[in-house]
């Protein structure tokens, strides 16, 4: 007996717009998304966007100016911006060479080193802050000598803020750049070598320019992570207004005394993040993805 598996080919409706769209995509699949994928996708969007929308809706738009000026917002913002930028600079200067070493050489213990280097990604930032304190604190095993030999005290200073941010943000840069170095076409580097370029010249003139999009993306991620740093910073650097109180810390304290100011400060951080992402996304993030 013959079983009719396919059944009658009953036509469904396909509008002329859909026809044109499918033709333009070279056949392909219909545009509609199956419900088992669509519903979770919408939930995900709602989860990510609704809280931010709530922030915008609840903002004290009328007295935004006074809410901001009432706090140390400007000071905190300036501190946050410059420390995040310096931290990113430090990450680039020492992180890119490390990424190169991880990507282009082999040595015993490399896997362990790679794991260690990316540890701050998964480590609770507070733990990072405690670790920094134990190393560079006044009685830390390094800080002790910095203090007695050079009179240099790191904790609870802007330098500590930069160090905490660097510690937490550097893995973002290293991972991005190392991935780019691994997938980069080494044929160009070989070609440069046959043209007489030393290894350092190859790195400077060929390798770095070719991974520039990924380096940019890594730096942006790194900067954004540094800007939002809270746990390690408050542990290692404390929260002295104007000295070590960064925006996230200011938001946290404002939430206790002056919720409106907290919202206003959060809005500023949100705005800065959105502007940075939007202005860099097209140029760098997309290049890194492709």
């Amino acid at each position: 007996m013959q079983v009719d598996i396919i059944g009658e080919p009953r036509p469904s409706r396909l509008s002329s717009r859909d026809r044109a769209r499918r033709a333009a995509r070279g056949g392909g699949s219909p545009r509609s998304v199956p419900a088992p994928l669509l519903v979770p996708a919408i939930i995900a969007v709602a989860f990510l966007v609704l809280p931010l929308a709530g922030l915008v809706v609840r903002a004290p738009w009328g007295r935004l100016g006074s809410a901001l000026s009432g706090s140390d917002a400007a000071q905190a913002l300036v501190l946050s911006l410059w420390t995040a930028t310096v931290a990113t600079g430090v990450c680039v200067v020492i992180g890119v060479p490390l990424a190169w070493v991880l990507a282009r050489t082999t040595f015993p213990g490399q896997r362990l080193l790679r794991a260690l280097v990316t540890l701050p990604l998964v480590l609770p930032p507070v733990v990072g802050g405690v670790a920094l304190l134990l190393a560079f604190g006044r009685t830390g095993f390094i800080g002790r000598y910095l203090d007695s030999w050079f009179g240099l005290t790191i904790p609870f200073s802007p330098l500590a803020v930069v160090m905490a941010e660097t510690f937490v943000a550097m893995p973002f840069l290293i991972i991005t750049v190392e991935g780019a170095l691994r997938s980069a076409d080494q044929g160009f580097e070989e070609a440069a070598a046959t043209l007489g370029a030393s290894r350092m010249t190859v790195f400077r003139r060929i390798t770095v320019p070719l991974i520039a999009p990924s380096l940019g993306a890594g730096a942006v991620l790194c900067w954004a992570r540094a800007l939002g740093e809270f746990g390690a910073t408050i542990t290692f650097a404390g929260s002295f207004p104007g000295r070590t109180e960064t925006m996230p810390i200011a938001v946290y304290y404002a939430l206790e005394n002056d919720p409106d100011a907290a919202i206003a400060l959060s809005l500023v951080l949100l705005l800065v993040s959105v502007v940075v992402l939007a202005s860099l996304r097209d140029r760098w993030l997309r290049g890194a993805v492709q």
Partner: protein, 366 residues
Amino acid sequence: MTEGSAGQGGGGLAVGATVRRGGFTLTVAFEVPRGQVLGVLGPNGAGKTTLLRALAGLTPVAGGRITLDGQVVDDASTGAFVDAARRPAGYVFQDYRLFPHLSVAENVAFSPRARGLGKAAARSAARYWLGRLSLADLAGRKPAELSGGQAQRVALARALAGEPALLLLDEPLSALDARTRLDVQAELRQHLADFAGPCLLVTHDPLEALVLADRLLVLEDGRIVQDGTPAQVARQPATEYVAKLVGLNLYAGRADGPAVTLGAGGSFVVPGHGQHGDVLVAVRPSAVVVGTQPPQATSARNVWPAEVTGLTMLADRVRLDLDGRPPALADVTAAAVAELSLRPGRQVWLSVKATDLEVYTRDHGL
């Protein structure tokens, strides 16, 4: 191996070396005098690119040595090694590898700059080579904005701008379409003629090798199977691969007087060929006459039956694959295919005049 033969000449390139790359081993010994273009011909995986990489210093030799103009650049026994950056070799890669972020002029200026010239001097060196290769108009373009033929010229200019003592070209025309290839081939021939040092040109296109090279080296499975002038290689191919490349029927056999007994079955009679023992017999497909009846009155001494197994349209004729003792390729006109109703399975008679059979010893050219 062959340490004695390598590096005696002084000028030019002398190689007697074993190169290992992955699980592959290449063992070669040859010399290239200054001004000679050596075509390196061989199937994929024969070791052509491995050879160029060893000469450029990208892959060190595992044994033996390489000397360039009397100077040892790589010697496995003493450990002497001049790395790629300090070896005066210009390398034109198969995919050109033009630096995508640099303009044409910056690409060409790269080598003079890397080899120590100042910015201005490097720029003027680049200008010179851009002019030599008629690229001046493209100086400001990025590689992505070049056609295949232009990119090939830029790659050559970039390699030459470093004033190399040795020029290496890896399938320089294979990335081009057929039309462009002919134009670029003629130009390339001129530029190679102008180059004073030894030049190696890797290709798997026999026509390219015949047109561009002064001498051919045929590589198969990591060793040299033939070394000779293009004319020698084309007339008396040493292996089946070379015969196929140059479009000849090739048979291995044993000569005993005028008779040659073929390994593939059958025999030929070739009076006065003067060879003994292991020989090769080459015959052009166009010299194989195809008929549907056994030829009656003919001067051809060599006649045998065969079956058509395949037909391929060539530019102005049809190539028949024929199974018999021995099997053969034969070229006939399209009209003959129609008149003799040649199709797979058709029984035919083949004949070849003895004067069309080239008989030569098997180790020819080595």
